[in-house]
Structures are given as structure tokens and as C-alpha cells.
């Protein structure tokens, strides 16, 4: 098993407001600078400690994330993270110009010497407000844009694109990706539609904002569809994201991450932050043919114990966390464990990374 360290690079202030979009009335640039510095150090630490990947993501208009353009953060990481892969998990493809996405990822692949992982996602429901894209068309835009990104990376001659949602008369991107034919692509397979699409296109599978029982259902659809298309995903093609906290003793770890397990707080914090938006996006058909199941996944909350039991959160001593990670790997056949370290205090978060890297990661590799 491999491990990725994921961070949304939050604005680290105890008074950061909820809701979405969040007013910037109380914004303090020095807090943002310190938060970003700390995040860079944190990614650097993960690289030095032996994490296989570091990952960033795209989220807008809220203190939950200071990387609305994760490509910019990834560019900084190419200069600080020397060994690990740098994963974009991801760029919100349907709300972006796909050519720009292809160009930026190719730049990053060049800057990093071929270490980019391209997570291409549809984003949380609120992001459809950000750039004014109709969420009813999200899935179709995503599918066309993904195909276009791959073409832009791989077609050696200038070409035009006459799509349904995108039209360009000439495309010929410079630089090109270092990885041939292109960086590995991960997409979210939480919905059945996307699980089937990923299987049909032999794309790697990502599972986030979920738990082990739900991920198992999604993976069953993915694997079954892959079989129909004549291939079998390997563990390296399956990524599972969970929250994590590690401390010397179980009780200490649970206590330190208790604020995360606010039972009223849904796992999909951004999707659910503005109910009117999520409602409108849901009504537009964004969540697909299993809309209720998808929204149940996002709105899921629970006590600390429940979050641990369902694999939404890994928490405890190194031995406990190792057992949890092993169980996830076994149950899901996931080869990449992407971890969001959620301890509110930077020092205990740092300690958690160190403990995980020294006592859990070496054993995980043997799996």
C-alpha cells in the first residue's frame, strides 16, 4: 500500500465561519500566509518522511481551502517536494477551460519531472456557483472535457475540436506532459455512472467523502464494469481517502481529534454548507440516477466512534491505525490510502505525520 498526504490548505483560524460563500470581512492576510507556509512545510515533511504522494484540491470561496487553483499550489510544491508524486485531486474539470487544465497539468508534469497525478473531478455542488456553470450539464461536460484533455496531451499535430460543449478551431499545447502517454488520471467513482465510465475508459478510481461500506458498493460497480470491458483494476488504481489522527496512545488521539467528529457536521462539509445551493444543484440532476444515495453519502455525519468504525476516520495509536489501514486495504482492495490529517493543533498534526511515517508507513508498504 502507498500513502498520500492530502490537505485542502485551510485558513487556520479558530473563528473561521461556516456557510458558503464565506464573507472575507474578517480576513487576515497574515493568517493566510502563515497557513500556507505551514501547509508547504507539512507537504515537505510528508515528502521527507516517505509519503508516496502529496495531494491538493480545488475549492472556492471558503476558509476551508486556500487553494482555489490547486495548480498554483502544485507549482510551489514542485520546488519543495523532491521525491513524492504531486497529485491534483483535483481540478474541477466541468467548470474550467479544459485546454487550460491540460496546459497547466503539462506544465506541472514538466516542472516536477513527471511526478504529476491528474485527478479530474466534478467538484462539490457549490462549485457550480463559482464560475456559473449549469450543474445539469456537469456530467456531460466532464466526459467531453476529459476526452479533450487527453487528446490535447497526446495529439502531436494541431487539431480542432468540435464538441457538444466545447469548440476550438486549433489546439496544440506546449509544454507536453513528461509522462508518456500522459499523467495517470484518477476520477471519482462514488456515483454508479462515473464508476461505469471509469471502467469503460480504464481510468483509475478515487473514493473520497465516503466511508468503507459505501466505497465497497462503488468499487463493486467499477470492478464489475471493468470485467465487462475485459480488464481488472489493480490495487494501485484504487485510491481511498480518509481523515486521520495518530498519537502515542489511542485515548490521546481520540481526544485530540474530537473537534472533527462534531456529530452535526456532515462529511461533505462544502457541499452541504449552503443548503439552498445544494438543493438547487440536486434538483438539476447533478447527483445522477442514485441521487438520494449520493446525497446520503455527503450528508453523513456521526460520532467519533461511528466515523472510526466505518473507516471515515483512522484514529488512535500507530498500532490501531495500522490495523485500520490494513482492514481498509483488505476490504476495498485499495492500494493508495490518501490521508487528511485533521488534528486542529499544528504540533499534534505534525506529530501524527511523524508517527504515521515512522511506525505505520513501513508496515503498510509490505502489504
Amino acid at each position: 500500500m502507498r500513502a498520500a498526504l492530502f490537505s485542502m490548505v485551510p485558513y487556520e483560524s479558530p473563528t473561521a465561519a461556516r456557510g458558503w460563500p464565506v464573507a472575507a470581512s474578517d480576513y487576515a492576510p497574515e493568517i493566510a500566509q502563515a497557513s500556507m507556509d505551514r501547509a508547504l512545510e507539512f507537504f515537505e515533511l510528508a515528502d521527507e518522511a516517505g509519503f508516496d504522494w502529496v495531494s491538493v484540491a480545488e475549492h472556492h470561496y471558503a476558509p476551508a481551502s486556500l487553494t482555489p487553483n490547486p495548480m498554483v499550489m502544485a507549482a510551489a510544491l514542485t520546488q519543495r517536494v523532491r521525491r513524492a508524486r504531486i497529485a491534483l485531486l483535483g481540478a474541477n474539470l466541468p467548470i474550467q477551460n479544459p485546454i487550460r487544465v491540460a496546459e497547466e497539468l503539462a506544465m506541472l508534469d514538466t516542472l516536477s519531472g513527471g511526478r504529476i497525478v491528474a485527478g479530474l473531478l466534478r467538484g462539490t455542488s457549490n462549485e457550480y456557483v463559482t464560475y456559473g456553470v449549469n450543474p445539469a450539464e456537469s456530467r456531460e461536460r466532464f466526459i467531453e472535457a476529459l476526452e479533450l484533455v487527453v487528446r490535447a496531451w497526446t495529439e502531436p499535430e494541431p487539431f480542432g475540436w468540435l464538441g457538444r460543449f466545447y469548440e476550438y478551431r486549433a489546439i496544440s499545447i506546449w509544454p507536453r506532459p513528461v509522462q508518456i502517454p500522459h499523467p495517470p488520471i484518477f476520477i471519482s467513482i462514488s456515483s454508479a455512472e462515473m464508476a461505469e465510465f471509469a471502467a469503460a475508459r480504464r481510468l483509475n478510481a478515487g473514493l473520497a467523502v465516503t466511508n468503507v461500506p459505501r466505497a465497497r458498493e462503488s468499487l463493486a460497480v467499477y470492478r464489475e464494469a471493468a470485467r465487462r470491458h475485459g480488464w481488472e483494476p489493480s490495487p494501485e488504481q484504487v485510491l481511498y481517502r480518509a481523515a486521520i489522527h495518530v498519537a502515542e496512545r489511542d485515548e490521546q488521539a481520540w481526544e485530540e481529534c474530537a473537534p472533527f467528529a462534531d456529530p452535526s457536521r456532515p462529511v461533505g462539509a462544502l457541499s452541504t454548507a449552503n443548503p439552498a445551493i445544494d438543493e438547487a444543484v440536486a434538483r438539476a440532476g447533478y447527483y445522477g440516477r442514485e441521487g438520494e444515495r449520493q446525497r446520503a453519502r455527503i450528508y453523513a455525519a456521526g460520532e467519533l466512534r461511528e466515523r472510526i468504525e466505518t473507516g471515515q476516520l483512522l484514529a488512535g495509536s500507530p498500532a490501531t491505525v495500522l490495523a485500520q489501514a490494513e482492514a481498509i486495504g483488505r476490504e476495498l482492495g485499495a492500494g493508495i490510502l490518501e490521508l487528511a490529517f485533521i488534528a486542529p493543533r499544528p504540533d499534534s498534526r505534525r506529530r501524527a505525520v511523524e508517527l504515521f511515517a515512522s511506525e505505520v508507513l513501513p508496515r503498510l508498504r509490505e502489504l
Binding site: Y128, V129, R164, F165, N274, A276, I277, A284
Partner: protein
């Protein structure tokens, strides 16, 4: 005043006034309150009437109506207008208020919480900056419009303008009213507040106050428009206001198709 062909002119008796209004369209009711310059039916009214019943009042004392020396406050005028709407048999409605009429719309919503569904406020005058006396003629038009070429040909005759100004000054109240702002904090209904990017009478920076005060307030800056933003950008304004009146907070999520070809 330019009258649109599709609007019919009528009178309603309310609170001792004979109030003139213009009506067009069918569907949910939208009550319109004009600004200090009086009623000017325009392209925005017409566009909004395509999907709803638009009722544009001439407030008592404005335009052709006799001088109004009776009304003592904006709250009182709001009471008169609520009676006028009730006299038309309309039970639930939204209100679109422009400038002076925007403050009036807020007063009305505070009095009629059960009846008002949503507010659209264009360059509302409920919160103002240090005021200078308003100019007249071309200078005034330069303040009202970023695109005078799209505006009505003439402002009201001088005697009407004098009458309207005296009434507005008497009713509008101070630039900041703590009592009103406190009440706005508890006004639980969707409110869309728009300011023109070129507005020098009520600069767009005022919008942030409404966003902070109104629990369900949305603030939009209309590019390349001055104080009379519905005249400068009628198509854009009517499209946004229409979507907001239909969908309230959900208007944040755009539903126009981006499909180029099937």
C-alpha cells in the same frame, strides 16, 4: 413619462388617495416603487411583465397626482401602499423598489411580513453616504445614467420635479437609521440588492451593508450602469431579477444551457 403599449393605466383608491398605476402581464404579482424622479416605465418593466403581473404605482404626490402634504413618513407611505395593494385584491407579492422606492420597499416588507415574498432593490436609498444637493438637467442625467442615450428623453417638467423633490426630502429620512438597520437584521425574506458599477449617487460599496444586515440578502454589482441601473442595463437586470423572483436563493445556481451543438 414614456408609457409602454402593453401597460394599461388605472386608478385605485386607498387610504384617502386616488393612486395611479400601470399594469401588465399575468402570474405572480410584482409591485414596483419608483425612485425620487417619479414613475418611468421602461424596458425593464416590459421584460419583467413577460412572466409576471407587474404593477407599477405612481406614489401619491409624484407625477401627475396632486401634491401630497399629508404623508409624514416613509413608514406611513408604506402603509398607504400596502392598502393600495390590498385594494387590488393581491394577497402575496414581491416588491421591486428603485432608490427612494427601495427604502420604501424595505419599510413595506417590515410591515407586511406575511404578504411580501421577496424584494428586489435597485440602488436602494436606505443607507446613504454624505449627501450633496442633487443637480438638475443634464448634470442630473449624467448622475442617473451611464448610458443617457438609452434613457427617457426628458426628465419631468420643473414644477413636477420641484414637487417630487420636496416630498422626497420630507419622507426619505436620515442617511443612516439605526432602527431600520436593526429591523433589517431580522427581515427573513430573500432580498436581491443591486448597484451600478458607475453609480456616484449610491456607490456600489454600499451594497456590502445590505449583505451584512439582511439574513437572506444577495448583493450584485451591475457593470457599466449608473444609479438608474434598470434603465442602463434593462435586459441584464430583468433577466437576473426575473430568475431571482422565480427561484430566490437558488438563483445562485445558473440553469442556462452551455450546450453548443446537440
Amino acid at each position: 413619462m414614456t408609457q409602454s403599449a402593453s401597460f394599461s393605466e388605472r386608478l385605485v383608491a386607498a387610504d384617502g388617495f386616488q393612486i395611479r398605476y400601470f399594469e401588465a402581464g399575468r402570474g405572480p404579482a410584482l409591485i414596483c416603487f419608483h425612485g425620487a424622479g417619479g414613475l418611468k416605465l421602461g424596458r425593464a418593466h416590459e421584460l419583467l411583465a413577460a412572466e409576471r403581473r407587474v404593477i407599477a404605482f405612481e406614489l401619491p404626490g409624484f407625477g401627475a397626482s396632486p401634491p401630497n402634504e399629508r404623508t409624514r413618513s416613509l413608514a406611513e407611505l408604506a402603509g398607504t401602499m400596502a392598502a393600495a395593494v390590498a385594494a387590488l385584491g393581491i394577497e402575496r407579492y414581491s416588491v421591486w423598489g428603485i432608490s427612494f422606492g427601495g427604502k420604501l420597499a424595505l419599510r413595506l416588507a417590515l410591515q407586511q411580513r406575511e404578504r411580501v415574498e421577496a424584494l428586489v432593490l435597485c440602488s436602494p436609498a436606505a443607507i446613504r453616504v454624505a449627501e450633496r444637493p442633487l443637480p438638475t438637467g443634464e448634470e442630473l442625467r449624467a448622475l442617473l445614467y451611464a448610458h443617457p442615450e438609452r434613457a427617457p428623453l426628458a426628465e419631468p417638467p420643473p414644477e413636477v420635479e420641484r414637487k417630487q423633490r420636496a416630498l422626497t426630502q420630507r419622507l426619505i429620512g436620515p442617511a443612516r437609521e439605526p432602527e431600520l438597520e436593526e429591523a433589517m437584521r431580522r427581515l427573513e425574506l430573500p432580498v436581491l440588492v443591486l448597484f451600478g458599477s458607475e453609480d456616484r449617487l449610491t456607490p456600489p460599496e454600499l451594497g456590502r451593508h445590505y449583505r451584512r444586515l439582511l439574513p437572506q440578502g444577495h448583493f450584485v454589482i451591475v457593470y457599466d450602469a449608473a444609479h438608474a441601473l434598470d434603465v442602463d442595463r434593462p435586459e441584464a437586470f430583468a433577466a437576473l431579477a426575473g430568475d431571482f423572483l422565480k427561484r430566490h436563493a437558488e438563483f445562485l445556481v445558473k440553469r442556462e444551457s452551455s450546450l453548443l451543438y446537440p
